[in-house]
């Protein structure tokens, strides 16, 4: 039994490049270059390792604007077999409920045995999408996964989950949604030939909301949450004073009543 492994990746503004618009005081995401959500690289590596052990295929999926194709190409360059771009104007304004519904339907359509996701995205940082996918489909889930041990004969996947103060080993029946702990599974570099293929010849499959039969279940209208107000947080005032000797640190330590 080989596995169909689906990986959800998202295009996000490069967190290191997001500036504040001096006029509005708002974050200027529009001008930040779009990159793959860093934790999703760990999910891709975990998927490729699973395929190496169990056999099967790794299919990458992103729900996003048409130019999110770039992150799919990156995943293909890393060695993934195929990719799907789920893109539709109807998705505009989706919060995690319709997002996870869309990915859940797509995973079902692809007949996924395992869905791998990153721990969270750097732009919305909810970590809710993976459990959301599992919940929509009634599948098992394994979040904060640090290690994976496939048991194809039993139709199970065992994960070492990071929990506060330790870890646990949890076995889940397939199909299962896994959120890989950020920083685990060091992503492999893209091979040169694969990279050239991804950039020049590869075209992802493209699906709309109608293809997944969810036109009426996505977008702003079905999203329970909405952003009310956004306040720029006043940066905490710091003195930012560089001292040139360790001795000079004594004064602040006296002031904070640490030393006598």
């Amino acid at each position: 039994m080989t596995w169909t492994i689906v990986v959800g990746v998202k295009q996000v503004p490069d967190a290191d490049e997001v500036g504040i618009d001096p006029d509005t005081g708002r974050l200027d995401r529009a001008n930040a270059p779009a990159v793959m959500n860093p934790p999703d690289r760990n999910a891709l590596e975990a998927a490729l390792e699973l395929r190496d052990t169990v056999g099967g295929s790794v299919l990458v999926i992103t729900m996003g604007p048409p130019n999110a194709t770039i992150v799919l190409e990156e995943a293909i360059a890393m060695g993934c077999d195929d990719a799907v771009l789920v893109s539709d104007r109807a998705f505009a304004g989706s919060d995690t409920w319709p997002t996870s519904l869309t990915l859940a339907r797509a995973a079902e359509t692809l007949e996924a045995d395992v869905v791998l996701c990153g721990e969270e995205t750097t732009d919305s940082s909810t970590g809710q999408v993976p459990p959301g996918i599992a919940a929509h489909n009634g599948w098992a889930q394994l979040t904060y996964a640090e290690e994976l041990e496939p048991q194809p004969d039993e139709g199970r996947l065992v994960a070492r989950r990071d929990v506060e103060g330790g870890y646990e080993l949890v076995a889940a029946q397939l199909p299962v949604v896994v959120a890989v702990a950020y920083g685990e599974f060091d992503p492999r570099p893209a091979g040169l030939h694969r990279k050239i293929f991804a950039e020049n010849d590869f075209e992802p499959r493209e699906w709309t909301a109608a293809d997944l039969d969810i036109e009426d279940e996505v977008g702003l209208d079905v999203s329970p949450t909405a952003v009310g107000t956004m306040e720029t947080v006043e940066p905490v005032e710091r003195r930012s004073e560089l001292v040139d000797s360790v001795n000079a640190l004594l004064e602040p330590l006296e002031e904070t009543e640490v030393v006598g």
């Binding site: 967190a15 997001v18 708002r26 974050l27 409920w97 996870s100 969270e120 940082s125 909810t126 809710q128 993976p130 459990p131 599992a134 919940a135 929509h136 098992a140 889930q141 979040t143 904060y144 065992v158 989950r161 990071d162 929990v163 506060e164 103060g165 330790g166 646990e168 080993l169 949890v170 076995a171 889940a172 029946q173 920083g183 079905v222 329970p224 949450t225 909405a226 009310g228 107000t229 306040e231 720029t232 947080v233 905490v236 710091r238 003195r239 930012s240 004073e241 560089l242 000797s245 360790v246 640190l249 004594l250 602040p252 330590l253 002031e255 904070t256 009543e257 640490v258 030393v259 006598g260």
Partner: protein, 340 residues
Amino acid sequence: MTELDTSEYADVWVFVEVHDDVMPVSWELLAEAKTLTAKTGDDLVALVIGEDVDGIAEEALARGADRVLVADDPVFEPYRADPYGAQFRAMVEARKPSIVLIGGTHTGRDFAGRVAVPTHAGLTADVTEIDVDDEGILQARRPAFGGDILATIVCEDHRPQMATIRPGVFEAADPNYACETTLEGSIERVEVVVDEADCISEVLERVVDATADITEAERIVAVGAGIEGDLEPALELAEALDAELAATRAVVDEGWVDGARQVGQTGKTVRPDLYVAVGISGAIQHVEGMNKSETVIAINDDPNAPIFDHADYGIVGDLFDVCPQLTELVQERGILEVAR
């Protein structure tokens, strides 16, 4: 979509997370939720799920819950997402709470979606401030994009209004609250709707040590990847300063320091009087967890490290030189006890 009658929904629920002991964030939520029910007039309801949890239900009352709902069954021990999700969902559907608050621990963030998705509830992640407006709409505030923005997330038309709340941001509820206010609450055992035979996951092993709590520390020495696996200089400095050890995610991922001591967006929020950052670059996700500290000192050999912008005093130098010198200096001068 059919309109939901939001007026059918009442009360504020707080999930009490139990793994042998109660996770501290649960009591933090209970205290903070009181500020909501004080405004709305709702009941504050604590939800205890686990096995043999009567003592914890009593404690929830003592700490100020108006009512406690208990789902007690071996199927809930140890924690698994599917039975917790199913039980919690059934209770939400039957009793219609208006607001549900869950600690933003790995466990809370694991199962919250399994309740919110099937009930089509609004779920806000990683919340650091909560309030209600005049209509009883939860104002869930969370840092967005690395903490430069505080976004208020609302859920107008769906119920319940759910949120996972970051640990360490609120004060814990007083264990003697009920005695002092002569509050008398009630404990109700609810029907357990989950059956082991329906579970799709199994915990094979669980290894958990007592976790350190750095959120209450008055002084912290935090280490970053710059220590390169050698904790000694930082530990000695921490001891000299009577400080707790904390770490960045990079250090925790390397396995050099336990995850309970991680500071930042996916770790703890701390607000000590003194925070000494040793070999830490100052990534936004880290700074978010420590920028409520009173005084920040940074030690880094890179004069351009962003941490210096988030520090009151910085010293550019090799931590393996600076830490021992500072340790010695502090020992010579003699430290003052932490005021408690």
